[in-house]
């Protein structure tokens, strides 16, 4: 029997295909198209302390094999979220990973404290890398010190056994350095990658297309960047579990990220093009793994790093 199970930190998942934060609504919207229990996990939209309107529109622009978004973390705030969305997801029997995002180290601390009492959650994804916040300089994941501070705040306040997955941006000179820092600060796993900072100028209006000017690039266009980041980090930190994401649109793509070193993958933009993408990808991934002779997902994780006697330089 093929074993599709995986783990991130202490958390176990029946299969390795998750939704990506911010790309699955509250779960309700997708449940029209499939049963949420089919997912490895649903990763919720990054939730902040307070309700948030998000950015002005236009918030999106299609790009070659990708898209830009600048949602600006629109959401109901942690209290309403815990009151409404989480109970509903629990009722569905969904495996839940909650994503949190803060504007200050203190925010992360408070969010973590609010999460510690919540049951039925498998892991906490800590988004320290949203490129849509107004001051790019303040993206936590861009600098080792701020990345560390955010994760330490969560670690100190979360208590118990909820695994912490730190979500990093690829928009840095050295992603391995940031990864090492957040792992040292207490992250149990890493989510790689968030969107890549980009811009589209509307050549009709001759202005940036997005009201927020810059936005996050996602979709197949960035998959090579995701694979590279996952590969580099897995090589440097082979024992740290990685939740991979970035342009996964098929089982082949999911397999690629797993070979690079991801223990699970999240599907974001592909869901916009196809509501059942996650399910299709899950099925295709299982086929790929089996057809390559793997008995379990785990054997395939990071397999592209293996040394081979007849290929000297690898």
């Amino acid at each position: 029997m093929f074993n599709f199970r995986t783990s991130l930190g202490q958390a176990e998942f029946q299969n390795p295909v998750f939704t990506a934060s911010g790309c699955a609504g509250s779960g309700k919207e997708l449940s029209q198209f499939f049963d949420l229990t089919e997912l490895g996990a649903i990763v919720t939209k990054s939730i902040m302390l307070k309700p948030r309107s998000g950015r002005a529109t236009p918030r999106m622009a299609e790009t070659p094999s990708g898209m830009l978004n600048s949602i600006g973390l629109q959401g109901p705030g942690i209290d309403l979220f815990l009151e409404k969305d989480i109970p509903w997801l629990r009722e569905q029997g969904a495996t839940i990973v909650v994503s949190i995002a803060g504007e200050s180290v203190e925010d992360y601390a408070v969010l973590a404290r609010k999460m510690r009492a919540v049951s039925g959650i498998s892991a906490l994804e800590v988004n320290i890398s949203c490129p849509n916040v107004e001051n790019r300089g303040q993206v936590f994941a861009c600098h080792p010190a701020t990345a560390r501070a955010a994760i330490e705040a969560v670690r100190r306040n979360i208590g118990g056994e909820l695994p912490i997955i730190a979500k990093l941006t690829p928009d840095v000179t050295n992603i391995v350095e940031i990864a090492e820092e957040v792992v040292a600060a207490g992250a149990d796993g890493l989510a790689l990658i968030n969107t890549v900072l980009g811009m589209v100028i509307d050549t009709n209006t001759m202005r940036p297309k997005l009201a927020g000017k810059t936005g996050g690039l996602s979709g197949p266009a960035i998959r090579p960047v995701a694979v590279r980041a996952i590969y580099q980090v897995h090589q440097a930190l082979p024992h740290v579990k990685i939740l991979g994401m970035g342009g996964v649109a098929s089982g082949r793509d999911a397999f690629e990220l797993i070979l690079a070193g991801a223990s699970a993958v999240s599907v974001g933009t592909a869901t916009f093009g196809n509501p059942t993408a996650v399910i299709k990808i899950k099925e295709e991934l299982q086929e790929q793994l089996i057809s390559h002779g793997f008995d379990s997902l785990r054997e395939a994780v990071g397999y592209a790093h293996r040394r081979d006697t007849n290929e000297g330089e690898l």
């Binding site: 309700p51 002005a56 529109t57 236009p58 918030r59 629109q74 916009f272 196809n274 509501p275």
Partner: protein, 285 residues
């Protein structure tokens, strides 16, 4: 929230016909049971560009009308303006080709329980969903008048059989190539007064909808409009398609036009807020 796309279904829909009509393409799909669940105002979302497409997002199109053909399966029709790469690709596909289509999506026009006097106003291809609406209204005993406007005659979409369901049809074009020279809003006040209009239904460019809403607000007439915001997913999961809408509690929230729209009450919309968040919006900071 109106119950999230309860009957939305994803199908491979075969193109039954694709005909150029003026500046547009009238495309008919075989869609099976979807035909019976779609209501005027709903839209479809179609994947574009084929297998190796660089376009990762679906395109939304208002449903022009549907036919429930029983055993032989339902038909669904749309009217497409070839604009950028996605819509142009779609208009280039021939009968027999199958597209990946999701429908019905979004809210529908609200149908009054009483027989009222309704004015339907369409701009460009925005007329498409109004013909199905006029059928429904007529069957409910409403009087239906219609105003269609566009920049030029080629962009007026008004098929013969559609016209039959309305009591009067007024056409305006900005260049005067057909009908009255001017904009729909030039003729609205007169038609509203003459026909004692109770409710306006509109569909077209945002600027037109706003202008209509200014008139309806001034005259205290109900106004339902089908808005068109850039949508990445069409099914409520991406939060790109939002616009500021005032709820019954008076609170403005950024609501998704794909789920809480495309049909919304004109007076609930905070118009002309493009590229900024109106003050006092829930969660604005």
């Amino acid at each position: 929230m109106t119950g999230i796309n309860k009957s939305a279904t994803q199908v491979w829909a075969e193109i039954i016909s694709n005909k150029k009509v003026g500046a547009y393409h009238h495309i008919v799909f075989s869609v099976g049971e979807i035909a019976s669940s779609a209501k005027p105002g709903n839209f479809v979302a179609i994947a574009v560009g084929g297998e190796s497409s660089s376009m990762v997002l679906r395109r939304a199109f208002a449903i022009y009308r549907t036919f429930d053909r029983g055993a032989s399966g339902g038909l669904l029709e749309i009217v497409v303006a070839p604009h950028g790469a996605g819509s142009t690709w779609l208009t280039n596909q021939n009968a027999g080709f199958k597209v990946d289509l999701i429908a019905p999506l979004g809210t529908a026009f609200g149908i009054p329980t009483e027989p009222v006097r309704a004015l339907l106003v369409g701009g460009g291809y925005g007329s498409a969903p109004l013909f199905g609406l006029s059928e429904v209204l007529k069957n409910r005993g409403c009087r239906v008048d219609m105003v269609l406007g566009a920049s030029t005659a080629m962009k007026i979409y008004a098929p013969l059989d559609g016209k039959r369901s309305v009591s009067s049809l007024t056409v305006t074009t900005e260049d005067g190539t057909t009908g009255i020279t001017g904009k729909v809003t030039d003729v609205l006040p007169g038609i509203i007064a003459a026909n004692e209009i109770d409710i306006i239904y509109s569909c077209g460019p945002m600027g037109m909808l706003e202008a209509i809403n200014n008139i309806s607000a001034e005259l205290g007439i109900m106004h339902q409009c089908a808005i068109e915001e850039a949508m990445a997913c069409g099914i409520g999961v991406c939060m790109t398609c939002v616009l500021p809408i005032k709820g019954e509690d008076g609170q403005v929230r950024m609501l998704r036009s794909c789920i809480d729209g495309p049909v919304v009450d004109g007076e609930s919309v905070i118009w002309n807020s493009k590229r900024s968040i109106p003050e006092g919006t829930w969660g604005a900071n």
